[in-house]
């Protein structure tokens, strides 16, 4: 600590400042402290999955207006009853800013690490690559576009993690908050533009960042815009009792251990949570042309417009089959971040997309039977039982009482991948 310590009071707060402060104190306290009982009960505390840590960090009260009204009433009562002149507003400001800083930092770590280990937007599946551009919603295209460049995703994650780190320290908090404004400001606008589902949450983070930055805003304007001398922060809290010092150390260590180290470790050990991890039919991964398609002994010719005839079929590496046909798809338009440990809830591959029908399947290798379940929540219960046989390495036959489908693997080369390998400077024939 510098030597220039005096115990003289800092600049006096005037009444107007106090009234504003009382409102913001109550408002932000309610914003950052989880009071929702379901929030605690929804987490499996004994077997913590990284998704749980994410969900803990992703908390925000869904009652913005009510909180504002409560804060308004609270501030009024507080103002009316405020006879105790000994309350140090500097001290209250200090502590509420600590709470908001930590809340914000945790939020940034939560998303930052999902991006740093590029899990949030995975590289597109084979089915995703084989879907028309126009068959995606905006939000899905945003996610897929990020998914093709894992390095860039890691970079964005790193920016968030560093920003979170800056927020954990009082002296760098305003710099961190300013970066949040730029970064999350962009996320907020993107969410509106791409019809993503996180605009409320990102706006919530922006308000927290504004509050953190407001502490230094006046002196920054003074120094940079008005180009006049500026006073630094002059209020410091010195913890004297052991329990205070250790308490502070323990809390800070806990945040770093739980939301940074443990979380990062668990994430680094996992594969993408967006796609299922159950292996699919061995050796079947690929894109297949539907060479022959008969229904009830009636052979249907190739058609782009027929809602019944399949056009092509993709076997993913995992147990998903997707079928392209002209049968309309009711789009599963979930677009909020869900980190799910349960395989069946992993529906990223089909969210926000039309053009293909997605099925998860079970394989009975003895009877050579595939049991397909439509993954889309709008087609719950749709099931297909198909006998499969391999005619040769690249030919598959799927059949049951009414269907008879011959699939031929297509040796498809994707321009996306060819150019990623060769670069755009060479001439490519494809």
């Amino acid at each position: 600590m510098p030597e220039l310590h005096h115990t003289t009071p800092a600049v006096e707060w005037n009444n107007r400042e106090k009234i504003f402060f009382r409102f913001f104190f109550i408002y932000f306290l309610l914003q950052v402290v989880p009071l929702d009982p379901t929030y605690f009960s929804s987490i499996n505390w004994t077997q913590l999955h990284y998704g749980d840590i994410f969900n803990i960090a992703h908390y925000y009260p869904r009652l913005g207006w009510i909180i504002a009204i409560v804060a308004l009433v609270g501030a009024a009562i507080w103002t009316y009853t405020d006879r105790d002149k000994r309350i140090s507003y500097d001290r209250l400001y200090y502590w509420i800013r600590v709470a908001v800083r930590y809340r914000l930092a945790i939020a940034l770590f939560a998303y930052g690490f999902l991006k740093f280990y590029p899990l949030q937007a995975p590289y597109p599946s084979l089915s995703n690559l084989n879907t028309y551009y126009g068959d995606y919603t905006r939000w899905k295209l945003f996610s897929l576009s990020l998914g093709i460049v894992p390095d860039y995703q890691s970079f964005l994650g790193l920016v968030e993690i560093i920003t979170g780190g800056l927020l954990l320290y009082r002296r760098t908090a305003s710099v961190g908050a300013f970066i949040v404004l730029i970064f999350t400001g962009n996320v907020f606008v993107s969410n509106i533009a791409y019809e993503g589902g996180e605009q409320v949450y990102s706006l919530y983070l922006i308000t927290l960042a504004l509050f953190v930055l407001s502490f230094d805003l006046k002196r920054l304007v003074q120094l940079l815009i008005l180009q006049k001398p500026a006073f630094p922060n002059r209020f410091h809290v010195t913890l004297t009792k052991n329990w205070q010092r250790y308490g502070r150390l323990a809390l800070k260590s806990f945040v770093i251990f739980f939301f940074v180290l443990a979380y990062a470790f668990k994430l680094s050990m996992s594969q993408t949570y967006q796609f299922p991890s159950t292996a699919g039919l061995a050796g079947a991964e690929g894109i297949y042309n539907v060479t022959q398609f008969s229904r009830n002994q009636d052979t249907l010719p190739y058609s782009k417009t027929d809602p019944v005839r399949w056009q092509d079929v993709v076997f993913e590496k995992w147990a998903t089959i997707s079928i392209r046909s002209n049968r309309p798809v009711i789009i599963d338009s979930n677009n909020t971040e869900r980190v799910s440990a349960v395989e069946n809830d992993r529906t990223y591959e089909l969210e926000g997309t039309a053009g293909r029908h997605y099925y998860s399947y079970d394989v009975d290798t003895l009877k050579q039977v595939l049991t397909l379940h439509n993954k889309n929540k709008h087609y719950k219960g749709e099931q297909l039982v198909l006998h499969y046989s391999r005619l040769n390495d690249s030919k598959l036959l799927l059949s049951n009482d009414s269907l008879y489908v011959v699939l031929d693997k297509i040796p498809k080369k994707w321009l996306l991948e060819e150019v990623a390998r060769e670069g755009r400077r060479k001439s490519i024939k494809l």
Partner: protein, 537 residues
């Protein structure tokens, strides 16, 4: 709570403001001399081409690209070429050369000053002017860059042909640009950010804010360009570099105030602006604001409304527009049934709102992997719809003869595209020197004679857009256009009653006769359209 609050009361007088003139240490001066040479060199155009272009601008019939060209130029010392030991270091070689010369020059300058004992105290004046030059260079440059986003034409909304292309059949670069193109309002937001940053740089008091904004926004764009192979990494890094230089002045102050928590006195040296200097300064500033904010906005608006630069501007035949299935296809009177694997038969076809016809065939062809940029005035050379698109998509420009129901079609793919962004020099976003080196064996087979399109069909093309979008630049390019490029050519007769069924027949690019029946399909896209659309068709 037994917490002791200690209040740090620091006396302003204990931290004396450094005298602006005394503050320069010898090593400051050496660094400054190096920076001076370096930043002057990269703030002025280095090719005679730019000067020629700018001198030839017709200010009475301006095109937005004229101002864009003023704002965008190649710079740095390139007397020894743009590579070091044969490598252009991803395009940064020119910076390294400039830096080496600046370092040598800085030391030489120092030596001369010490030898002649002519060291002056007026470094603050020179530093002020160096910062002023960099501020204006960065400000004008980023404003020029930002306007094509503010009125969203830089990344167009995908054409029908692209909407019908598989995601994996696009290059990464294309995917990124499309991902901005599908949300014009977001593109506007990006333009607002860039123009705001640029405008803030034009004022001394808001320079820091502008520089931070520029640094953050363009830093991201640099990374994007590397990640998606966008090709504009050097030009975006350029702004990051200029912004970083401008921030050097303020970072110590911020560090002092926020991290060290010390009383901070800003030291900003401003030269004397009184008398005629005051008016000159005001005049230059006002002219810059008027030309690069006001006039530029107007020209860009005209471009957005009537002539979006990456998208063809001439309207297509009204009754032909839409998505079609290829119901019947005959090649030399032989019916070929539909199969997605057939290497001759067309699969789906589209007529865009403008003069473009696309269809898909399952046969490999050479692809245009550029970013489809530049500023071609002729629709035939506006290649955004074909650039970076694979999956068997064929894209043809057509001239229609509505009287005789004939379409004259030319392949938009060209092995050796025109040179683009001439003012920008090396590091331009497409079609510069590297495209000229493309393998010449890609040349198409032009099966039809050179005078295959009657003159009356194409001759007044230059005037087929709204007269408000006319410009000398457009006239000049049309006047010098080549008419006999080797491209794939087709002449097709079209018959339709209402556009629901179109019959095309004639000669294709291989001189085979084709007969094609197209039936309109209403494709419902999951991708929502924006209310904001460029062009008038």
């Amino acid at each position: 709570m037994s917490v002791i609050e200690t209040v740090l009361q620091q006396d302003a007088r204990t931290t004396t403001a450094p005298n602006p003139v005394d503050a320069w240490k010898p090593w400051h001066k050496v660094l400054f001399r190096i920076a001076f040479i370096f930043f002057i060199a990269i703030c002025i155009p280095n090719s005679t081409e730019w000067y020629k272009l700018v001198l030839n601008i017709d200010w009475t019939h301006l095109h937005y690209r004229d101002l864009y060209d003023i704002a965008r130029f190649g710079s740095g010392i390139n007397l020894f070429g743009d590579s070091i030991f044969g490598s252009n270091l991803l395009g940064y070689a020119n910076w390294i050369t400039t830096a080496i010369i600046a370092i040598a020059g800085g030391f030489l300058w120092t030596a001369i000053v010490q030898w002649r004992k002519t060291e002056r105290e007026e470094y603050n004046v020179m530093y002020y002017w160096l910062r002023a030059i960099v501020r204006y260079r960065a400000g004008i440059g980023i404003i020029g860059f930002g306007f094509t986003k503010l009125l969203p034409v830089q990344m167009p909304y995908p054409s029908l042909g692209i909407l019908n292309t598989n995601f994996g059949d696009l290059t990464a670069q294309k995917i990124y640009w499309l991902s901005v193109g599908i949300v014009p309002w977001y593109q506007i937001f990006a333009g607002v950010v860039e123009i705001t940053a640029g405008s803030l740089l034009l004022f001394r008091k808001t320079t820091t804010l502008g520089a931070i904004l520029l640094f953050a926004a363009l830093g991201d764009i640099v990374y994007v360009n590397f990640a998606y192979d966008g090709g504009v990494h050097v030009y975006s890094s350029y702004f990051v570099l200029l912004a970083a230089f401008l921030l050097v002045n303020d970072l110590p102050k911020l560090y002092n105030l926020l991290i060290l928590e010390r009383y901070t006195v800003p030291v900003n040296f401003y030269p004397d602006f009184s008398g005629w200097k005051k008016y000159t300064r005001f005049g230059i500033k006002a002219a810059t604001l008027f030309v690069f904010l006001g006039w530029f906005f107007y020209l860009q608006l005209i471009n957005f409304l009537y002539d979006p630069y990456k998208q063809p501007s001439v309207a297509g035949e009204k009754e032909l527009r839409g998505n079609y299935t290829v119901t019947e296809f005959r090649l030399n009177n032989q019916v070929i049934p539909y199969s997605p694997l057939d290497s001759v038969r067309w699969q789906e076809a589209t007529f865009e709102d403008w003069t473009t016809f696309t269809f898909r065939v399952n046969r490999p062809v050479f692809l245009d992997l550029s970013n489809g940029g530049g500023d071609p005035q002729r629709d035939l050379n506006r290649t955004f719809e074909v650039a970076g698109v694979g999956g068997g998509q064929r894209v043809f420009h057509y001239y229609a003869d509505p009287k005789n129901h004939v379409l004259y079609l030319q392949d938009k793919f060209k092995a050796n595209p025109e040179r683009r962004n001439r003012a920008a020099g090396v590091g331009g976003d497409g079609g510069t020197a590297r495209n000229l080196k493309t393998d010449s064996s890609l040349a198409a087979t032009a099966a039809l004679p050179d005078n295959w399109i009657p003159k009356e069909i194409w001759q007044d093309e230059v005037n087929r857009i709204d007269p408000r979008a006319a410009s000398t630049r457009r006239n000049r390019e049309f006047a010098t256009a080549k008419n006999n490029e080797k491209r794939n050519r087709m002449i097709l007769q079209y018959d339709t009653k209402d556009g629901n069924r179109i019959i095309l027949h004639g000669i294709n690019e291989n001189k085979d006769s084709i007969y094609v029946v197209l039936d309109k399909v209403q494709r419902k896209y999951a991708l929502s359209e924006s209310s904001l659309k460029a062009g008038k068709y």
